[in-house]
Symmetry: C2
Subunit: 150 residues, 2 copies
């Protein structure tokens, strides 16, 4: 099979075709939910990954897009329930990995960049105690997300 143009990685591979892309919480036919651990200081970071290698939201059919965004909204709702102080940031960028994936990132006034986006330069050290407390909440949040997506 010829890899679609734009797949990053060696020999045309795509990291989101070749791997789950993080801690797999749920896999459905068309999408999966992972928790990502690749952004230090932002532990409550989930990604809804569309399983097929498409680059843009508008590459999906209407039915597929609705399924995708219903999942994003469900994940957001569960995140808000468990992290009531959080502002949720949503983004589908795909500049580095042009395979549709939604970032859902819980943001807090005490994090290293708030109110700037997580990709902006750090403004401060994150509050270590609150960061540790947040990490302790993740197993329950993961479990609630798994349950909500069954």
């Amino acid at each position: 099979m010829t890899a679609p143009e734009g797949r990053p990685g060696g020999e045309g591979g795509c990291v989101l075709c070749d791997t789950d892309g993080g801690l797999l919480l749920h896999r459905a036919a068309c999408w999966r939910l992972i928790r990502a651990t690749d952004m230090p200081g932002f532990p409550a970071l989930y990604r809804v990954v569309w399983n097929a290698h498409v680059a843009e939201l508008s590459d999906l059919s209407e039915v597929e897009r609705r399924e995708c965004m219903d999942v994003v909204a469900t994940v957001e709702r569960v995140m808000r329930l468990h992290l009531p102080q959080a502002k949720i940031n949503l983004a589908a960028l795909g500049n580095v990995v042009p395979h549709l994936h939604w970032h859902l990132i819980a943001r807090f006034g005490w994090d290293s960049r708030f109110p700037a986006p997580v990709w902006a330069p750090a403004q401060r050290e994150a509050d270590a105690a609150r960061l540790a407390d947040l990490a302790l909440r993740l197993p329950a949040l993961d479990a609630a997300l798994r349950a909500a997506l069954q």
Copy 2:
């Protein structure tokens, strides 16, 4: 009327309640499309703003959310048609202005930050000739967006 908590600006005002938020291209009952001019170097930047003051996508009903994301997908599709070399970035952050708005940003390998997000530090000067060419395409893109959203 008491302003909802978290509205930025003087005396509880919200810039997206009080102003269009950019060049208004289309206003529907529940949302509007604007072209934003507040990010130098990224002229092909549109925002779908939900008219009501809600903070998160999951504050919308299912019907509202589908309407909102259908509009986002339509705008993205028209942007891709007119800017076939672009990668489209989608984001709903709302850390500064917690009033639901979707950023749709056309990205190019020659822009000042690609492949990093637009909020990351600049990696280079944008290609001035290509930036000027992009600006020339915006009137036609604006017109196509207006037509697609009628």
